[in-house]
Symmetry: C2
Subunit: 334 residues, 2 copies
Amino acid sequence: MKKLINKPENALDEMLEGMTKAYPTYLRRLDQTDVLVRQDLSADKVGVVSGGGSGHEPAHCGYIGKGMLDAAVAGAIFTSPTPDQIYEAIKAVDRGKGVLLVIKNYSGDVMNFDMAKEMAEMEGIQVASVVVNDDVAVENSTFTAGRRGIAGTVLVHKIAGAAAERGWDLDKVKETAEKVIANERSMGMALSPCTVPAAGKPNFSLAEDEIEIGIGIHGEPGTHREKLVSADAITQELFDRILADYPLKSGDEVAVMVNGLASTPLMELYIINKKVHELLEGLGVTVHQTFVGEYMTALEMAGMSITILKLDSDLKMLLDDTADTPALKVIGTK
Amino acid sequence: MKKLINKPENALDEMLEGMTKAYPTYLRRLDQTDVLVRQDLSADKVGVVSGGGSGHEPAHCGYIGKGMLDAAVAGAIFTSPTPDQIYEAIKAVDRGKGVLLVIKNYSGDVMNFDMAKEMAEMEGIQVASVVVNDDVAVENSTFTAGRRGIAGTVLVHKIAGAAAERGWDLDKVKETAEKVIANERSMGMALSPCTVPAAGKPNFSLAEDEIEIGIGIHGEPGTHREKLVSADAITQELFDRILADYPLKSGDEVAVMVNGLASTPLMELYIINKKVHELLEGLGVTVHQTFVGEYMTALEMAGMSITILKLDSDLKMLLDDTADTPALKVIGTK
């Protein structure tokens, strides 16, 4: 696998430098850390912090800015960030209103964010946390007890970030994030593996006519392998799995995310999106907002995931609020 | 090559449907065409129209919206749109102030946009056109007489679109677009080929340790092949080629675009961006704005291009103006 990097051991550091140079008005890097912090930190709001292993760009540092995250902690590739770095992020963004941690459900992330939370609480900082587990594919996969957190995490960033930006208190921001997690489900599939730079070889292999359904964002096993079929048939399969877990009914309103894992062209994601909308229309479900693009990637893996979030009036309002971050911008009225 | 499509012959139509469903407040499709038009067409401004072969998504339909394009015409994959469709786009957006066509320099595009321009002029519509030829790699490559138009085209959309949105007249919008074209240069490279769905096989091949420098966005030949070296060395090589053609001096201000061709992870593009910024800093050149992402792709090709645009005060102002499109948003004061 050919990569545009220098030394594998420097890739994370160089990436964070490259991000900071690209977006100096949005991001600054905390000295001696892999923590990026929002430049225009608001003086009077709940802080929102996320993070996780790298290799999922633009997640999570790309979502730092007005209406989303105040800081993100970048672990080594596919590896949880350490508690001390998460603790630095919490300290950097706390403004006396407390801090919400948005954690993807991987054992290492949950453990390290929890330790950082305890460290911050010992310093008198009020910290709450939520764990995102939107992937309906499998329970207790590699790295995870329970369901994995995947692309739906970005919708938690968007909505919890908007709630914090509106000046809501920590309890209410946490409650809102938990509502998103309760109301969203995702399911993904892959056409090809990815290669961690330091490993130098693909993390699994698939035959030329084979896909894997239910795969995670690190190449963890999914539910099964099957022959490549049409985009419509694959979309139907993922959609049915999502709805089996979280049924929708006529009159419901949802947000849709069709997330590319990296190598899948936007053309193909739009074709998937067409089918998702048709399936929802068939049920009498209205789509309030659609996101098609690369929001939570897996290095250079080809594949995609579908996320469906059921909305109520509060979630719609917060989804439509302004977000001004490098990777996701919404031009709203608030 | 595995693709998430249905029938190859339906890919373009289904993609356009998927885009329209994703962004119904931004886009509508003209009946019986592959033309997408801005929903909130302004009553009193110059229209800006672009287009070209498909397979470069989000270009060009993703750039339809406030501050960028009013319509885009999608040809078959890697194939120029037909004159009649371009003509429909021109008619749909003309509001009596005239229409600017932004054309990438490929023989088919130039010929077909010119024919459409003549058809519209016969109907009394005032039409101007500019031809983008930012790629310094080669002259007279496959499909092209002269230099090719690549990722720099998106900066023409941004700036000409902002000029039109400000109410500038057709001559001044055209003059501004020409200034962007005169002041920008790009150069790209690839690590892997891409596969046109209907062809079913890759359009060229590269060995496992080989890259091609100066390649175009359809896999047209570049200047040479070489062994894969470090990201820094590749960046230096492309940068030197750009500066050999358009020298910069201390005190200059520029915009930078590091454009992914599709399969190259954002992590790698940020590593490239770090080096581009360091090289510019070394020359005493200031970066006013940076774009890192997939702006002008080549189906699932791995690789990237670097674009550098020298700015003056007008170009900076227009670059910072609000753009509200599916694929590029700038939250400005105008």
